[in-house]
Symmetry: C2
Subunit: 192 residues, 2 copies
């Protein structure tokens, strides 16, 4: 707590006024990250599965790039949260993580059921998708060579072209949105 007070330029008593313990600071970081990720889920059953996955990827990567430290703390402290948090706090985080995983899996399953996607193991691919996107906190930087939006286009294009059956959709609109609206393309619309 001394180090934290030093870093934020407050005295320790003031830090304790906001957070009764160090573990509550960690939980606050965790809860914000989990709540952000759950809020990035917008399951609109009228949207195609491909657009749902692309828009979720886009929201996630923009969020990670804008708060790399939060994402890094989340993943680096992951193995130890049962030591720091109460059972209810752990349950809250686990429930948020399950919700995000199930969203991805269910959208892939929806795409398979409608014939939009190839048959595949949606469980395994949802876990791979999470590793690919959330794992980007290791190297994603707010002012890197490519923006978070451009990286979302690259990831989603490769993954969705791998899932989409229809050759024309796959070649022309793998993200389910008008290509003119994508970042980095001439005439791109402002970010939504």
């Amino acid at each position: 707590m001394d180090d934290i007070a030093d870093a934020v330029g407050l005295n320790k008593a003031t830090v304790y006024h906001y957070y009764a313990s160090k573990s509550l600071i960690l939980y606050d970081i965790y809860k914000r990250a989990a709540d952000f990720t759950v809020a990035a889920v917008h399951d609109d059953p009228t949207a195609s599965a491909r657009e749902t996955i692309y828009q979720f990827t886009r929201r996630l990567l923009i969020g990670i790039a804008s708060n790399i430290e939060q994402a890094a703390v989340y993943f680096q402290e992951g193995p130890y949260i049962t030591e720091w948090f109460t059972e209810d706090q752990v349950a809250y985080i686990r429930q948020a993580e399950a919700q995000v995983y199930e969203h991805i899996r269910d959208v892939i399953d929806r795409g398979i059921a409608s014939g939009e996607f190839y048959e595949c193991d949606s469980h395994v691919l949802a876990l791979g998708y999470i590793g690919m996107t959330l794992g980007s906190y290791r190297w994603l930087r707010p002012h890197g060579r490519r923006t978070a939006e451009e990286i979302a286009v690259e990831f989603s294009t490769a993954l969705l072209r791998g899932l989409i059956r229809d050759e024309k959709v796959r070649a022309e609109t793998p993200l389910g949105v008008d290509p003119a609206e994508l970042p980095g393309k001439p005439g791109a619309a402002p970010a939504r």
Copy 2:
């Protein structure tokens, strides 16, 4: 060191006989993991880019599943290795990581140059590939619902179908190997 001696059932002097310090134990785990991953690179320029990526994925996931603890230590301690290791040790690990990343990026670039793959950002996709495959240490289990070989097929099929241009190759042999040789298929050949 007391805890380690207890866990392996030796006295502390014997542990010190093998490892002069705790950081050398951690470095040994790190070096084994890094050497294993570099050894999984077999760049055969006569193989297709898709087969090279599939075979690398297969070797990586089998290796991770057979030594989950090693992979977990590797990723969990990653942010702290500069505190534990000498400069030469850190340089050895960083060099191995760069070699693996460059292998993936170069194979994707080879596939783009030959017309096997779509144009894409090989740098970003190599990073995404690493997150998807190496990140599996979080959930891959040696006796899980799907074997490491089956998961390698799922990941590689989705990713490579996303990259391959040719519609027939993409539908029939996205992994660059005879489908009868794949795990989980009737008449599959023994694992190579």
